[in-house]
Symmetry: C2
Subunit: 406 residues, 2 copies
Amino acid sequence: MPHLDVPQFLGLLVVILGVAKLFGALAQWIGQPAVLGELVAGVVLGTSVCGLVDSKNEVLHLLAELGVVILLFEIGLETDLRKLVQVGGVSAVVATVGVALPFALGYAVCWMLGLDSLVRIVAGATLTATSVGITARVLSDLNRLQEPESRIILGAAVIDDVVGLVILAVVSGLTQGEEVTALSVAKTTTVAFGFLAATLLVGKFIVPPIVRWVSQIDLPGTPTILAIMLAFGLAWLASAAGSAMIIGAFAAGLLLRGTPNAHEIEKGVAHLAHFFVPLFFVAVGAAVDVRVLNPADPANRQTLTVGGLLIVAAVIGKFLAGYAPFWYRGNRKVIGVGMIPRGEVGLIFAQMGLASGVFDAGLFSAVTLMVMVTTFIAPPLLKLLFPPIEPDHRPPEPEGIEELVN
Amino acid sequence: MPHLDVPQFLGLLVVILGVAKLFGALAQWIGQPAVLGELVAGVVLGTSVCGLVDSKNEVLHLLAELGVVILLFEIGLETDLRKLVQVGGVSAVVATVGVALPFALGYAVCWMLGLDSLVRIVAGATLTATSVGITARVLSDLNRLQEPESRIILGAAVIDDVVGLVILAVVSGLTQGEEVTALSVAKTTTVAFGFLAATLLVGKFIVPPIVRWVSQIDLPGTPTILAIMLAFGLAWLASAAGSAMIIGAFAAGLLLRGTPNAHEIEKGVAHLAHFFVPLFFVAVGAAVDVRVLNPADPANRQTLTVGGLLIVAAVIGKFLAGYAPFWYRGNRKVIGVGMIPRGEVGLIFAQMGLASGVFDAGLFSAVTLMVMVTTFIAPPLLKLLFPPIEPDHRPPEPEGIEELVN
């Protein structure tokens, strides 16, 4: 996509938002989460079909990233930190098994195919990530964010995201031929998790007084803009500290949930989210190349075979992870399925594998196929196992959350 | 500003929004419209002071333009088309005199200074534009958008913006040495005004049924996103048709005002506006180079003299235009003052004069000085002549606007 002038950019936004909302409405109409429609809209608009949306365009990429940051901030705003901590042990087990098992299975598949050990490691790593954005959005579409299973999935997906960063750092070191020591891995891990812990601890004390002080300013929209600034600011800080942007945004949501302005902020941010979040899912969809699905092309047959094996490894690995906390009495099927979508995180790994020369074009396409299938099967499967609740039938939320923060 | 990665971009947005809101609150605290604070925030963050915000950065420029498009859409939503048409004659006289007089005065100033005839024309043209964005925002900050004077200013500023496009086309032809015929000028003028008329006529029939149809879709936020799509879409169409983007956005607002969802849309769009609009004013402020104000530098003395003369021409020209509709019995001082700010439109002219080689660096700085001073004096002057009304004391708005559209 060449340099866009402002009117063309406005036209492109109209097309993206229009197609995303149309496909979102169609998805809902056939009983699927709206996010599935937005992903399909991205595929249709993307390079491999219409060629209207280039996911590598700088401006679009930035706006899409604002979208996922705002989404995770919203999810944080709807998540009760105390209840998240309560399921922390279960989440940690799901996350750990959900990283180890897919890695082992992916490694085994590549070993069976006679591939190099570095290729096995990178392909295995690609299978470890969970796209917390897609899972969280599906749970939100199903109106199920307040269920214990959702909190376990969310907790595990957030842990996965942090683990994914560590794996990314290790793998990127390996592909560049650097030596990776246990010490450097431990350091990366500590920093990534330490950021979340430190932010929540420090934020618990300084965020509420700041919110109280700022809400006295008589400028319309101030609480929402302040909330967005906190989300963007912590996302930036998280990245600067070596953690993931969306972890910072999620932490900002958790911190603001207990403040008196939380409800106002939630409503205000929702309007920004309606604009920015579809841009993210369209960008994820647009990065998918559906041409590898064409079996008439002989070059695709091997890709489809390898991709098929990776899909089996990816799905089984995460699904069984849902059963890992054997003592947990909830719906463990839902947890496993909730961990399946690889989304943009998987694509980032695949891109890195290709760029570093570890993956050839065929293997890259097979990995992309795995990302595509896991991303697209999770929403309908989750919907099937975890039918949506009507907003009116949701039990009223307990009051008195303020004590957590004050 | 070099290429920005996503976290840096988030950090930059936090700084821009934070400083804009802070200076906006300070401006209000000393009794000035918030927009003045946002402009000052831009100057402080801009190239000539902190160097944090480069108004030429592509992404920031695009987001700022989304801001002014959303602002004009909001203003359109708050403007009653019927009442705007009622004051149309007065507005047209104010606009015409407000273009002719500053042009003549600017031409005269440059003639007195012994400048070339092409320079006189381009400098005169720079004095003709009114920044409808700044005026509209000040009137909105003062809670005065519903006054007849405001409607006259708004109508005249919109006409000015269209005339400005025509002048821009003519002047850009002249600076490139093209021949400009009466026919080509007439054609540009017809297209620019024809777009607005055609859009309002056609839109009156097709927008309400579309809004009714779309509001049946059960996706949260749909009316707001549809409204934004209409605003962006008409902005794009306006530009493609040879008119100005903000005219399209303003027309979208006028069209949606009468629909049953207008109130919901207004509330939803306000949240997007709180985010995007300050980016526009900060970008306008950041484009100002305050270093020309330093009288210690001898090179600035001539700039300050020429700039001072241009300021007098610019202020007197627009102020007297307010008195041009001699039969009008309202507050004509307010009208003249409301037309004074040149804002980003003036900067675009100045930039073109510099790029084409018609202005030398000194004259460019003098013109920039004129833009800066007219932009910054208008908010406090308007505030003085047109004190803000408390929202609670505003008379209730008459009902029954729907008949206009249905």
